[in-house]
Symmetry: C2
Subunit: 313 residues, 2 copies
């Protein structure tokens, strides 16, 4: 039996790669540039060269490597077909077959948010659970769903695309996806800043946020913790939008735990408290005790999940 | 290998039972009374006696019976534990173990809406698909979710409880579940009648519905088909509420097809047309082509699903 496994997380600017033991210890991690030119045709070759070089450097034989699990920033079908990764320039093809051909290793691919959920289940905030919804509150809002230990891919690779649940019929501004009123427009890092700017421009309540030139999500949560009323109101509304959406999701997949990650989750307990308060208010009675936790792996969740996707068959 | 299988669907007043070939042919079906007295303690014994008598009548040997699959009107965990079926008087116990002890057969249990979804997948409106969301529009709104051919139970047995997704923050009337604004309050048979009464009482628009003493969902859809403006407006609002909620659900589980059943689904194409129109409006782009179909098994969906739950391991 092989003792090592690679986890890969392809982003729009860098590819993160990790070498793990099959027990879940991260032995080494590094990054390479994501070459998105010429339709992203060099990306898989670069990854193949990088993991092969690492295996040689560490003197690990090919048959001691269980495989490569890889998160991709776009929809991925369960058979390894990517459906279009606009950030990478990719069209539609089977990334598992291609990277396997280039390396000789077993390859598994999945959407990056789903892989992050798998990583948090293996070694992070979801450890000990097998039915997980992970929410990543970053520039956008990503979601990953694990049912009985397996990723929910969705038929169009859109399983767990919870950032695009419509939560507001009155919204007039468009989300990046083309719809209006998406959860992402209110609960992402960008979303809460947008809400802050709207609120500050339409009221004259005093707030320390008025002294900040470029407001970030961090400043809003920090000001709320210090008692700033406008900021506290924004955090409350953020928690309400998120908690309510998670209550809707609980009526669909009824998980054991919600794991919240991404940059916004650095706000910590205040985020969990407001979100879980509104969750309990809107949740179906059978799901009202669903647990909440913060993600703990940060930007490494994707490589952990990639590695685990190879082991978890 | 066994050639026969029983499907059971326990309701609040009758238990439906079917004898099937393992190929999916329904050979015989019958009903027994659901004895809910004394905490429902006779129900499983009555079922056991009834299937044993049928096997004897048909001269089918025990080892020619693959098992009994059973839908239950309440939350069921994946291990066969029912969590409380208020309609039956049941508390918390393992129904699979109990019915297996009484019959000697393999037993599988699941929530009745999930079993109906499995039945429609096997021999009904979802045939040919393995990723299905079934919506049952009856007195309430039930949901059943099938991922890669398997029922999604949920950790609290609440997987697919989509009738209790909150779709309206402004609602003041309580749903049966204790929350307000649940999908069920607008899209069940009862829900659309409630909406009709509110609309008729708050406007003086002419409508043939004004001549009906006790309005039913059927009369609303029929009047809409005949061009009644008030009824058409109600059907439009019904389709919007349902289509929008299904678009939210598609962002979570991304199924191949939505199968719509229950009494309201007898309205036929008009229901599919309005629902899929609003679905497309609210859906995330990757899921916009998700199919819609009407359920075809009617009240037999549960026994078909029960039978298939035994075969589908």
């Amino acid at each position: 039996m092989a003792n090592y496994v690679f986890g890969v997380d392809i982003g729009g600017t860098t590819v993160k790669i990790g070498l793990f033991t099959i027990q879940g210890e991260l032995l080494d991690k590094w990054e390479i540039t994501t070459r998105t030119d010429e339709g992203g045709r060099f990306i898989l070759g670069d990854i193949a060269a990088s993991v092969k070089a690492k295996a040689a450097e560490k003197a690990i034989a090919d048959d001691d490597i269980a495989g490569i699990g890889m998160g991709v920033p776009g929809p991925v079908k369960e058979d390894g077909t990517v459906l279009k990764c606009v950030n990478l320039g990719w069209g539609i093809f089977n990334v598992e077959e291609e990277l396997s051909r280039l390396t000789g290793y077993t390859v598994k691919a999945g959407n990056d948010a789903n892989m992050a959920a798998l990583g948090e289940m293996w070694q992070g905030g979801g450890k000990g659970h097998t039915n997980i919804v992970m929410v990543t509150l970053g520039t956008g809002v990503g979601g990953g769903i694990i049912i009985n230990g397996k990723m929910l891919f969705g038929v169009n690779g859109a399983g767990g695309e919870i950032g695009h649940i419509c939560v507001n019929d009155e919204e007039t501004e468009k989300c990046g996806c083309g719809n209006t009123g998406c959860l992402e427009q209110y609960t992402s890092a960008t979303g809460i800043v947008r809400s802050a700017n709207i609120l500050l421009n339409t009221s004259d309540k005093p707030s320390k946020l008025r002294n900040v030139q470029y407001i970030s999500a961090k400043e809003i949560f920090d000001a709320a913790k210090e008692g700033d009323e406008v900021a506290a109101n924004l955090v409350e509304k953020h928690g309400e939008a998120l908690g309510k959406a998670l209550a809707q999701i609980a009526c669909v997949v009824d998980p054991e735990i919600f794991v919240i990650g991404g940059g916004v989750s650095k706000a910590g307990d205040i985020l969990l408290d407001t979100t879980s308060k509104y969750f309990a208010e809107y949740a179906f009675h059978a799901c009202r005790q669903t647990k909440f936790a913060l993600a703990t792996l940060g930007n490494d969740a994707g490589i952990y999940g990639g590695a685990f996707s190879i082991l978890n068959v």
